[in-house]
């Protein structure tokens, strides 16, 4: 954990989130706090529960247990008020068919309740260097361009919390740099907090000052990238990621071999330590 003096107020507080689907418990007691101006990476291998956690933090999925407060509003009841200060974009989401980029941004500027939507759209187009795409239809854009438009959409109202799910997954390095620069500038100038999920650990180390690792639905580490790497006796976040992915695979192999059918987190493997616990690993 990072040591803090007078901590800025939280923009997101999630307490003891639990979510269970038919296939088992996918989020298991997650606690997550993001403070004003903080840039946080929510990381973990596939199936760790990142997207479900993110969707619960946005009020799009109801937790089975636990609570979420965004900008002081408890979700889901306070979702409309909370979302006035939240932006969301995901690298995997397409733009709506048959809408031009400017029309799409205008739609969202109106949905956010901006008094001067046209000016906000033009500013966002300029800020992310996508003015030349303004009249293009969503389906005509490359995946990188779509991502840029999505992030421009999410930051139209200069949100206090910007949530990005895999934002740079499809971007060329130069575009990724432009996105990163734009995001860092947004955070620095307006104190916007950032919550990002990504599989690109290098990107995360450049963008985030704090990372929260999930594995099997639980928070397994929370601190600066350096602190987390040290905790797992790894050189960097990529090492941590690979370590957790291996632990997950061992777990799955053990479950598949019939050594217990538990699918929840921590079924014999302590992913918090530098080396995976070997108990029962013979089945893997």
């Amino acid at each position: 954990m990072t040591a803090r003096g007078a901590a800025p107020p939280p923009v997101l507080e999630a307490h003891d989130l639990v979510k269970e689907y038919r296939r088992g418990r996918v989020v298991d007691g997650v606690r997550l706090t993001v403070r004003e101006g903080e840039r946080v990476g929510l990381l973990g291998p596939n199936g760790a529960g990142k997207t479900t956690t993110l969707l619960m933090c946005l009020g799009a999925v109801a937790p089975d247990a636990g609570s979420v407060h965004v900008l002081g509003h408890r979700l889901p009841a306070g979702r409309p008020a909370a979302m006035r200060g939240v932006g969301f974009a995901a690298g995997y989401l397409p733009l709506p068919d048959r809408l031009r980029v400017r029309e799409y941004l205008r739609l969202y500027a109106d949905l956010y309740g901006l008094r001067a939507p046209r000016a906000a759209v033009e500013t966002a187009l300029e800020h992310f260097g996508i003015g030349h795409l303004a009249t293009a239809i969503g389906t005509e854009l490359s995946s990188g361009q779509r991502t840029l438009v999505g992030i421009a959409k999410a930051s139209l109202h200069t949100p206090r919390l910007l949530v990005l799910d895999e934002p740079t997954a499809a971007l060329d390095p130069d575009i990724a740099l432009r996105v990163r620069t734009g995001l860092l500038d947004l955070c620095a100038r307006h104190g916007t907090a950032l919550l990002v999920t990504s599989h690109d650990m290098v990107e995360v180390e450049r963008l985030c000052e704090r990372v929260v690792f999930l594995a099997a639905g639980r928070v397994t580490a929370d601190g600066t990238p350096q602190e987390v790497a040290r905790q797992f006796e790894q050189r960097d976040l990529e090492g941590v990621f690979l370590h957790l992915a291996e632990a997950r695979d061992r777990e799955r192999a053990r479950d598949g071999a019939g050594a217990g059918t538990e699918t929840g987190a921590g079924a014999g493997t302590d992913v918090r330590t530098g080396a995976a616990e070997r108990e029962g690993a013979g089945a893997a």
Binding site: K19, Y21, T51, T52, L55, L58, G59, A60, V61, A62, P76, P80, A81, M83, R84, V86, G87, F88, A90, Y92, L93, P94, L95, P96, D97, R98, L99, E103, R106, L107, Y108, D110, L111, Y112, G113, L114, R115, A116, A120, T123, A124, H127, K153, S155, H157, T158, V163, L186, R189, H190
Partner: protein
Amino acid sequence: MSAVEASDLRSPAAASAYRVRAVARRHWLVLRRSPHRIFDVLVWPVVDTLLYGSIGLFAAKATGGGTQTGTGTGTELGTGTAFAVFLLSGTVLWHLVHQTQISLATGFLEETWSRNVIGLLTTPLRGWEYLAGVGLFALVRTALSTLAVATLAFSAYAFDVTSLGLGLIPVAALLLLCGWAVALAVVGLVLRYGSGAEALVWGGLSVVMPLSGVFYPVSTLPGALQPVAQALPTTHVFAAGRALAGGGPTPWRELAVATLGTVTLLLLALFFLGRMVASFRRRGLVTRYS
């Protein structure tokens, strides 16, 4: 970028109004750029009018009712002519409920097809604002469709729908509400069951059509089905419409029963939709559209 302060945001009431308008505008833009949707809005309604108008005219001629199908023109209605009038008035009124239902339901489907559901859920947009926006769009689309049907009925078969008189206003309003109620239920099913329920958008009302006595009194239905038909609010609305088309006075009693039934149907549909939205969030079904 400049920081967005409270002063940069509209007042809550104004923001709501603009959100409703933004949703309606979004769907209008999509309609304008979707030539294939012209079939739903104009082509099928025109085809129906041609079909039922010509059948009615043929029946009128076969029974010696002449070619004049218009009401309120001073022409006394023969059996065949009355049949033609019922067919044409039924066609116009049916398209009111059908277009409203299909416009609202496909409006929501558009969000699922374009995977825009998560985007909408992560804005301050409230459920009622979204429904009002799509409802507004549905109203415009229904107006276009009904105008096409009414114009063809008048120009090709001399049937003037306005000759039904002021009683047409409550009849049309009730049909719009029935269309919305069915659409809300269908949207609820699509939320809960996904694309498997999409067929109901186009086919759901087809089940209601024969039971509602769109073109005939429900007394002509098999006896076992008549109580079912009487329980449908649409049956009473169409009965009122038929009474007006037959040149009778406004059937207030029938309209009162229809209003009671329509309001009940609408409340049930809203309740059902609310339950389906809760289930949608609880089951994490939004990930279908991510």
